[in-house]
């Protein structure tokens, strides 16, 4: 994997490229951005450059990067092969499920909902204290760094501030504000942006050649520029759910306040739990609450996009609708709504998510949401 393989991240590229060209690499990076836009890919390819035994000189990316000359990974030496195989002894991937490999049985038994201090101490801080086995550098990539609790972040501060020579730490997090200020201030920040919809679509076609084309184009538009999320739409059958919920919203809009809106809460929760089950299968260490909230968040996002489309249309914005395949739903929403009531509905959807994060009763909160949507519709 080369640095230039990560596409559509010009800002992140420029920062990394300049640092490589100047040969003064910061020893701690914080890569922020949505999931599935290439943060880990860039982190691994940067690691490969730092670990490569016979780097090759290169200038700029084809037309889009800076022009300075850097040393890029050769992609052929033993070190490059080991990085790609995931077995390089000086490249460490840190993630919360590593707790299951911890020597302490008590830590192994714990659900790895957070990136705890035990994992950080044993797999990062202690390893940082060794010389690189292959003699060049040591690179740590911390997935979901925002899940490090305060204790773990505090334990890491000293290592972040002054790591041993030739040690590089790359933290991956969704946004800066999810990290403690003390952690932030010790890292060079590299922001990643959402990928262009067209690019996500193209990658989807390449990665899931057998998927329904309509589902793929919805997934690309709905994902907000995250390939990871778009893949989830395809793999978890979210498109079929969104068709159903589009139909229900149209019905709700057509019937108005007379519709027994609260009755939708039940099926909504059932769908959300079905998604939660899929989330939990992929990540057995997630807590039930987090999985359920994750499922609800996905479905709320699906609902919200219908209202976003309606708002765009009401405001006369010239943007392609996300739900281009269900124009009748948007038309139905607009029949009884104006821009004000649609934005009120969007706010209600947002509030639902934040209320659930505060442990509100799921069924009551959802009923409240659908009653609101029924009234405004």
């Amino acid at each position: 994997m080369r640095i230039s393989d990560v596409q559509h991240q010009p800002r992140a590229h420029r920062i990394i490229w300049r640092a490589l060209a100047s040969r003064r690499m910061p020893h701690a990076y914080l890569f922020t951005g949505p999931e599935g836009v290439g943060r880990e890919m860039l982190a691994v390819s940067l690691a490969q450059v730092l670990l490569c035994a016979s780097p090759v000189k290169r200038t700029g990316l084809e037309g889009q990067g800076p022009e300075e000359e850097i040393s890029d990974a050769c992609g052929e030496c033993q070190d490059c092969r080991l990085v790609e195989a995931g077995t390089h002894p000086d490249l460490f991937l840190i993630y919360r499920q590593l707790g299951k490999q911890h020597p302490d049985p008590l830590v192994r038994k714990r659900l790895a909902t957070q990136l705890g201090v035990d994992v950080v101490r044993h797999f990062l801080i202690a390893q940082a204290g060794h010389h690189p086995s292959r003699g060049r550098a040591k690179v740590f990539i911390v997935r979901e760094a925002e899940r490090m609790n305060d204790e773990a972040q505090n334990a890491l501060l000293k290592t972040l501030e002054e790591p041993p020579p030739d040690t590089f730490i790359i933290l991956l997090a969704p946004s800066l504000d999810r990290m403690l200020p003390t952690t932030r201030s010790r890292c060079q920040h590299v922001p990643f942006q959402a990928l262009p919809v067209e690019f996500v679509h193209e990658r989807l076609r390449a990665l899931r050649p057998d998927a329904d084309p309509a589902a793929m184009s919805y997934a690309a538009r709905h994902s907000g520029g995250s390939l990871g999320q778009a893949l989830q739409v395809i793999d978890d059958g979210i498109y079929a759910m969104k068709r159903t919920w589009g139909g229900r919203l149209a019905e709700l809009a057509a019937a108005g306040p007379a519709f027994a809106a609260h009755a939708l809460a039940g099926p909504f929760e059932a769908d959300a739990r079905a998604l939660a089950k899929l989330i939990a299968e992929r990540d057995p260490d997630i807590s039930d609450t987090d999985a359920t909230r994750g499922g609800i968040r996905i479905l709320l996002g699906v609902l919200a996009d219908f209202y976003v489309d309606a708002l765009r249309k009401a405001g006369g914005a010239d943007l392609p609708p996300i739900n281009a395949d269900q124009p009748e739903v948007i038309a139905a929403l607009l029949r009884r709504n104006n821009a004000d009531s649609i934005s009120a509905a969007l706010r209600a959807i947002q509030n639902t998510e934040s209320n659930l994060a505060r442990n509100a009763n799921i069924q009551l909160t959802l009923e409240g949401l659908f009653i609101h949507l029924g009234h405004s519709a």
Binding site: A85, T87, H88, A126, H130, H131, S133, P164
Partner: protein
């Protein structure tokens, strides 16, 4: 590749390798051993990315050279359960067939090119020392290593090469153990390195399988130890080991000779009534007498006395009994000398010329 290998020899090697193979890892490739044919036998290598081991197996007949990577636990169990004198191993990157007289196993393999390289000790080692000597040095220091301390340097054992002497030093900040031994051969300048505790443990386990001398390579980032057919290597610990000579008291007024066994037994008995809060045994030196006592609130008290050669002012000092027993167990001499200054100053134990142990006292009040 195709080889015919002596089962007992392979068994011994795989047992040693199982101590290195990563048992808990998400990377399947690290649960494997690599078998590579060489001119006069076969190399077995294993690594968990921290410690690497390679062993030369001689009792092998190479029919066809090659290189395979297969799951260590499966191969280990097959070799252990077999009853044949020799086994035939045949395979490529896809799979390995193991054949005995009445049995046939096929294990799926991995690509050996993705296996991290396992270094060999090339050329003359910087130091050569008798197996027995090195074993004593390790036994006398390994127990004192710090565990997961953020001062990285003390999470390992310091190996110091000075002329024809090799000293091993370990500390956890509250006690320090140093053991010195004579080497057979020493080449080049004086040197030192900090070897991770885990690596020292692996070396300690492998040494009983070998005899003769052990070759040691000192380098800036790796330690490589060759003992017989075994080569163990690992990355070194970063940082500078504390200037430990400064913490060894030089002006102790009281020197007391103690029978190791008697003192060990006294400390162990006195420590029976200590608990988490009062983790100390009080040593009260009086005329010709040492009284060890301890007290666990709400449980009880213990007093043990023993005769000692002591004719000075009475002295009372407290120690963590675990720190005392750890050292007394490995002293290996009939008597140890204890050197003290006062209750607030560290105590020093010496066993012969080769072993020194400094331990911080516990406040008794």
């Amino acid at each position: 590749m195709q080889v015919i290998v002596n089962r007992a020899a392979l068994m011994e090697v795989l047992n040693a390798a199982s101590g290195v193979v990563a048992s808990r890892t998400t990377k399947d490739i690290l649960k494997c051993v690599r078998l590579t044919t060489v001119d006069n036998g076969m190399l077995v290598s294993a690594t968990d990315l921290e410690v690497a081991l390679r062993v030369h197996v001689h009792q092998v007949e190479v029919k066809k050279p090659g290189d395979i990577l297969i799951a260590a636990d499966k191969l280990g169990s097959i070799v252990r359960e077999s009853t044949d004198e020799t086994l035939t191993l045949e395979g490529d990157t896809q799979s390995c067939h193991i054949r005995g007289q009445d049995s046939h196993f096929e294990i799926y393999g991995q690509d050996p090119r993705e296996f991290p390289p396992v270094p060999e000790l090339e050329g003359t080692p910087d130091l050569e020392i008798e197996v027995e000597n090195l074993k004593t040095l390790i036994d006398r220091t390994l127990f004192a290593v710090a565990k997961e301390n953020t001062r990285y340097a003390i999470n390992g054992v310091l190996w110091e090469k000075k002329g024809k002497k090799l000293a091993l030093v370990a500390t956890d900040g509250r006690r320090l153990a140093r053991s010195v031994g004579s080497a057979e051969q020493s080449v080049g300048e004086d040197n030192s390195m900090i070897v991770p505790a885990k690596t020292v443990q692996v070396i300690q386990k492998v040494l009983p399988n070998t005899e003769g001398t052990v070759g040691i390579r000192f380098s800036s980032n790796l330690v490589i130890v060759r003992a017989g057919d075994y080569v163990i290597s690992s990355a070194l610990v970063e940082g500078r080991f504390p200037q430990y000579e400064e913490v060894i008291p030089k002006d102790c007024d009281h020197k007391i000779e103690l029978s190791t066994e008697e003192f060990l037994s006294a400390v162990r008995r006195a420590s029976l009534l200590t608990n988490e809060q009062s983790k100390a045994v009080r040593l009260a030196f009086g005329k010709e007498k040492l009284v060890l006592s301890s007290r666990a609130p709400e449980q009880g008290e213990a007093t043990v006395s023993m005769r000692v050669e002591y004719n000075e002012e009475p002295l009372e000092i407290g120690f963590n009994p675990v720190f005392l027993t750890d050292a007394l167990r490995v002293a290996g001499t009939p008597t140890v000398t204890m050197e003290l200054k006062e209750a607030s100053q560290p105590g020093v134990f010496r066993a012969g010329a080769g072993f020194l142990y400094v331990v911080m006292p516990v406040n008794l009040s």
